[in-house]
Symmetry: C2
Subunit: 180 residues, 2 copies
């Protein structure tokens, strides 16, 4: 039987990303999981306004979503523990500058570079609506058709209720083909 | 080495839900995965405007997110194949009416009932910003603290690049605790 456990978020587990942006000429980073795809062209990410990185995202309107896998989870997790308001995060990762100016993490096998198109602000959150400009993927995670292969690339997923990380598990079927 | 594979969405895999709403006095349903958490109080879901269900969501401003697991994946998948513009979906699921008026799928072990707070429309999509009103969880997926236990509850995840479903895999650590 189901019961009402309160007005709690429960759309989990979802991919963990490290968001990157330039702030005052240096890269900064933060850990996020409250994000999603909007239309087929945009991503949304929800970040508490007090984050140091929000200033850079607002000013430069460029950011990257670096999809976390287990190989660099420890480094990614640290970006959710330390605050760039107190500790310089600019040397936390080896990075490249994307074609549109956002810092992109070299460890990440999939990174998405975006331009801020809008901000659906409320409460103490910036909810950035971001147009996808470029998706960078490592050759090792692409299939023969040049598409990301999630049998090989296994993103880490987050859930808020007990604050644990899970990995992507096994394939269980093709979307739209489960009924023969 | 990473290369630019184009401006393609790549924030995957992410939870699959069946969205439910009343349309002209009867429940209707659609499959969605382009959704995410906004602030700590809201969900966003991105639905092509042509969907039949959008009319009901716009009129009644009430909907449910029913998180899919493998036990009812076939039924859920069908909601993405058939169109309610042509085929009546009102009898697709056994359902209950939530405390706020949205139809909630009995098969779903976790369902989130929401009120539409806004719509960040663009292109041919309604991107509903939905305030969480109630989260319903089955006793069998709750831990001793009354929180959803993702060691037990294993949502199905979707990825757009090759249109496959994956299950939630194993736990790999605690968020914020990966560095000792």
């Amino acid at each position: 039987m189901k019961r009402n456990i309160g007005a709690v978020p429960a759309l989990y587990p979802c991919p963990v990303v490290v968001v990157g942006a330039m702030v005052d000429g240096k890269p900064s980073w933060t850990l996020a999981a409250h994000a999603g795809t909007v239309a087929h062209s945009h991503l949304m990410v929800s970040l508490v306004k007090a984050h140091y990185i929000n200033k850079g995202i607002r000013e430069n309107r460029e950011l990257s979503f670096n999809v976390v896998d287990e190989s660099w989870l420890k480094k990614a997790d640290r970006m959710g523990v330390i605050s760039a308001n107190r500790t310089d995060k600019s040397e936390a990762f080896s990075y490249s500058i994307g074609e549109n100016g956002a810092p992109v993490i070299d460890d990440a096998k999939v990174s998405i570079e975006c331009e801020v198109d809008g901000n659906y602000e409320f409460e103490n959150f910036d909810n950035f609506i971001c147009r996808i400009q470029a998706t960078y993927a490592d050759d090792t995670v692409l299939n023969a058709d040049g598409k990301i292969d999630y049998h090989v690339f296994r993103p880490v997923l987050f859930e808020f209720p007990t604050y644990e990380y899970f990995v992507t598990g096994e394939a269980v079927g093709k979307c739209g083909r489960m009924n023969g």
